[in-house]
């Protein structure tokens, strides 16, 4: 079956993904994409201005087209269809035959037909190209206006703020987000947005745009007023791209859009339409979830499932606009005859919540939440599943008093067909079935059912359902470390602290079983280190250490070790460098500079390590902890001391911070970066702790990392002086050390915290848990009890004795053989060794 897909946006790609899963035999798929790039996440477009690149936003997994054999043509707009000949022709003149044609052409941004709307520095907000043009314009603009105060308009306003422009929103209606929320909710939303510095102008109808006097453009309104601005972005609505339907006598909806039936077929049985371009019962859908539904249904129809049908979509939505939670469910405007509403409005906290209930008071028909949308999940389930309201429904939205739990819905109250994940249409029953087949972590549930894999909003509810089903099936809801210690790392940490446990024997005796293993021993060692900070190689602790920590070096593939002296901030004197190089020459080591801005020496045999380190210590160096789950380095740029652009002394701060936190052990390695200005030469935004200097103080970013899954750090706080910066870092690191799982980087840990970055802000900045003093004290204790473990090791004869190849022979391991490459040593490969010199 030749299938041609016209349009490769979010819904188009979803259709391809569903086709791949349907595995239709003999399917030959071609995709015609108008844009110069493959499908990307248009919903999160505004993140383009906070660090995401076009590649980050791509929805296409690497290798997708190679693995499926689907053919993709970019820059190939479908220009004409010949329904009788069953062909489609692109703008480049290429004609393709089809058995089934699927139109996923999306929408175009509506630009009001007024004079001047096509001037330079006037844009629409839809594609990556639009965003790149906006970015270029913002470099020569001071003010920006968004025309349109709806969902997309407010997203666009945030984008203008992120571009650093004085931002204005111009809306034709009397209120913002007129479709989703009511008057009161809109007022609260407006005042919160204005508090962020955005200017809102409602009831303004633009009649023309001309040259401005004090800015590039002047917008003239129907009421005679005007507004001057440099950049204008139109976000005044979208219209379906139904031109192919109109040109080919396919039925269109009353308000535009390619008309489809319940099976997503147009008036031609071989042509389907899905997503924003489609009109079902004269309704078009501007949210992605109904489009995904249509994509799924069409794929199933093509696979032969004649029962797959589209039956409309729930337009409830919860989003964060400019940091403000806004949610709308069902009949938000109280249109149902006889319905009544209950409202809670707090003008001090700027929160508004309304629920719309049926005439008899038993059913929830709709809701509006502004400023706080915590109850969204519960209210949505109640509305969709016709669940009876509690007898005092106002308790659903009133703030909890006296610590009483608010009424919610336990996962058991939900029927099996309750839709939990609306982006991917996953029901409670499907999640439970996945648990039954062995999916017992959120990651596994996401992988098999896709629940939680798109917007992530349903993850808390999915987790509840998963845990509840696991309990029902008699499975342990398990975050245990291993078979010896049935606790999570966080729980163990707590036990160690509270019971003041200082040895593994004590820990096993009180809380565990067996002999321990390579999972729990190093975990216990790490916890002991961050609580008590004893010498890691003292007798009681040495046997718990991973081999690297046991020998205080990184083991290499041949059993030799690497040596990394600490060079805080990457700064080192010529004398220091000479000393390290002399050691390298004396022991014939391989030398290399690391990404962490320090020297790495390879090829040290275990028995050579103490002598090597004695010499390094004599030259003033300490252990660089390159081998540990610990602080590694603070990467820096040279900063204001030397650099013409530097705004502050990043070099001095880097040295100070590395000296403060050296020796700290943690669930995983920790890396810092300090940049002296926004040019970011230290790449601080790719670090667990990233600091950037500004004119007003230091900005602190957290939870970034490079490596296999690069992550941008997020801004925790800005304009900090040094003392406040250090306090926050102390708290952040100690909270991470205490509560993260084994081998969990700060980024993964942050993702597991319900509330993510916002939660961290309230705990670390507002001290919502009341633990900040304690966290700072515990960190200070680690700082105060620091000792260079190599210094201690070389002066302890019992510890030095452990550094030998053979317990009964002074010689080294004769199997370690080096050969020369690029003027230095490297381990010999198996083929390069003398065969007869290998003993068994």
């Amino acid at each position: 079956m030749k299938i041609v897909l016209v349009g490769h946006g979010m819904v188009g790609h979803k259709f391809l993904d569903e086709l791949r899963q349907a595995q239709i035999p003999g399917a030959d798929v071609t995709v015609l994409c108008e844009e110069p790039r493959t499908a990307y996440d248009r919903v999160h477009l505004s993140e383009f201005f906070t660090g995401k690149t076009a590649e980050d936003l791509s929805l296409v997994e690497p290798g997708f087209f190679e693995n499926t054999g689907f053919v993709l043509r970019l820059n190939s707009r479908a220009a004409a269809i010949d329904r009788r000949a069953h062909t489609v022709t692109t703008q480049n003149g290429i004609t393709l035959p089809y058995d089934k044609l699927v139109l996923a052409t999306g929408s175009y941004p509506f630009v009001p037909p007024l004079k001047g709307s096509d001037r330079e520095h006037c844009f629409v907000y839809r594609t990556i190209e639009d965003l790149e043009a906006m970015k270029a314009s913002s470099a020569v603009s001071r003010k920006g206006v968004v025309v349109g105060g709806g969902l997309l308009g407010l997203e666009c306003a945030k984008a203008l703020c992120d571009l650093g422009l004085e931002t204005h929103v111009v809306e034709f209606a009397p209120r913002l987000m007129a479709v989703q929320i009511d008057d009161e909710g809109s007022r609260i939303l407006r005042s919160r947005i204005e508090a962020l510095g955005v200017h809102v102008h409602t009831e303004r109808s633009t009649i023309k745009i001309t040259d401005g006097r004090r800015a590039r453009q002047r917008m003239v309104f129907a009421d005679g007023t005007h507004l001057e601005t440099d950049m204008i972005v139109f976000s005044a609505g979208i219209r379906p791209r139904d031109e192919l339907a109109r040109q080919n006598a396919l039925a269109v909806g009353a308000r535009g859009g390619i008309a489809i039936d319940d099976r997503c077929r147009t008036s031609d049985p071989d042509i389907y339409a899905i997503g924003e371009c489609a009109a079902w019962r004269d309704q078009t859908f501007g949210l992605v979830a109904p489009g995904y539904d249509m994509a799924r249904i069409t794929a199933r129809q093509l696979a032969g499932d004649a029962m797959a049908a589209f039956t409309g979509a729930d337009m409830s939505t919860k989003l964060k606009l400019m940091g403000v939670d806004v949610a709308s469910i069902g009949d938000a405007h109280s249109k149902t005859p006889g319905c009544r509403s209950l409202c809670y409005a707090d003008e001090c906290k700027q929160i508004y919540k309304k629920i719309v209930v049926s005439a008899d008071g038993t059913r929830l028909l709709g809701a509006v939440l502004v400023g706080n949308a915590d109850e969204y999940g519960t209210l949505l389930q109640m509305a969709l599943n016709d669940i009876a309201l509690p007898s005092d429904p106002e308790l659903l939205i009133l703030p909890a008093v006296d610590g009483k739990a608010k009424p919610g819905i336990g996962p058991d109250a939900l029927p099996d067909n309750a839709q939990i994940c609306s982006c991917n249409s996953v029901s409670k029953g499907q999640i439970c079935a996945a648990v039954g087949e062995g999916a017992t972590t959120i990651g596994e549930i996401k992988a098999c059912t896709k629940a939680g894999a798109t917007c992530g909003g349903c993850v808390p509810l999915v987790t509840q359902i998963m845990n509840s089903e696991m309990s029902r099936l008699g499975m342990m809801v398990n975050n245990h470390l291993c078979e010896h210690l049935p606790y999570s790392r966080q729980e163990l940490y707590h036990l160690v602290r509270i019971d003041e446990i200082k040895s593994f024997e004590d820990l096993l005796a009180r809380h565990g079983i067996g002999l321990g293993c390579d999972i729990c021993k190093p975990t216990a060692a790490s916890i002991f280190a961050s609580c008590w900070n004893d010498f890691v190689l003292k007798d009681e602790l040495a046997s718990l250490q991973d081999s690297n920590d046991y020998f205080l070096g990184n083991i290499q593939k041949d059993g030799t070790y690497s040596v990394v002296p600490r060079m805080p901030g990457g700064e080192v004197t010529p004398e220091g460098l000479i000393a390290v190089c002399q050691v390298a020459k004396k022991y014939a080591l391989y030398t290399k500079i690391t990404g962490g801005q320090r020297l790495d020496l390879f090829g040290a045999r275990v028995e050579q390590l103490p002598a090597i380190w004695e010499e390094l210590i004599a030259a003033g160096f300490e252990s660089g902890h390159a081998y540990g789950k610990a602080l590694r380095t603070v990467k820096s740029c040279v900063g204001s001391t030397w650099c013409r652009y530097g705004v502050d002394d990043s070099m001095g701060l880097a040295v100070e911070l590395e000296n403060r936190y050296k020796g700290l052990r943690a669930p995983h390695k920790i890396k810092f970066g300090v940049s002296g200005c926004t040019r970011e030469c230290a790449e601080a935004q790719g670090k667990d702790v990233g600091i950037i200097a500004t004119e007003r103080g230091w900005n602190l970013y957290i939870c970034g990392n490079g490596g296999m899954k690069p992550r941008h750090a997020e801004l925790l706080a800005s304009d900090l002086d040094k003392a406040a910066l250090v306090r926050l870092i102390d708290r952040f690191l100690m909270l991470y050390v205490r509560t993260a799982d084994r081998l969990q980087r700060t980024s993964t840990w942050r993702d597991t915290l319900e509330g993510g970055l916002e939660y961290l802000k309230t705990v670390l900045i507002n001290d919502s848990l009341g633990v900040c003093d304690e966290l700072e004290r515990q960190m200070q204790h680690v700082v105060d009890t620091y000792q260079c473990e190599w210094k201690t090791a070389v002066t302890d004869p019992e510890v030095r004795k452990r550094f030998r190849s053979f317990v009964n022979d002074p010689r080294g391991d004769e199997r370690i053989v080096f050969v020369e490459e690029r003027g230095q040593i490297r381990p010999a490969r198996r083929a390069e060794r003398e065969p007869q010199s290998l003993p068994r």
């Binding site: 081999s547 020998f551 317990v807 022979d809």
Partner: protein
């Protein structure tokens, strides 16, 4: 030498091995890893890790996985059973076991 009278080599004192850890002994040209589990339980296997070819097994973390008393190779963390020499993850990476005994505070090893 017959099968019933193995050749015992003294390699070290019990106190030379920290409980829960291992050391490597050179015995008739062979690299032997000797482990002390608990206070005086001793085990001996080849020191060379078949998976990596490096002579490092004595440096691994010991413990138990279910019924198996094991060491985790420092390089790739494959587990070797100290009693049977089997590799729990990949049977082809098993090692030989050797005999080890304690006499008067001294540790003795006999190959194979």
């Amino acid at each position: 030498m017959t099968k019933d009278s193995p050749h015992w080599t003294a390699v070290c004192k019990l106190g030379d091995i920290l409980p829960g850890t291992g050391v490597c002994a050179l015995v008739e040209g062979c690299h032997v890893a000797v482990f002390r589990i608990g206070d005086r339980d001793l085990y001996a296997i080849d020191n060379i890790d078949p998976r990596s070819g490096a002579s490092v097994l004595s440096r691994g973390l010991t413990g138990n996985l279910g019924e198996h008393i094991v060491v985790a190779s420092p390089l790739y963390k494959n587990h070797l059973d100290l009693r049977t020499g089997e590799c729990l993850e990949t049977p082809e990476h098993a090692v030989r076991t050797h005999r080890v005994r304690l006499r008067g505070g001294d540790v003795f090893v006999a190959l194979g």
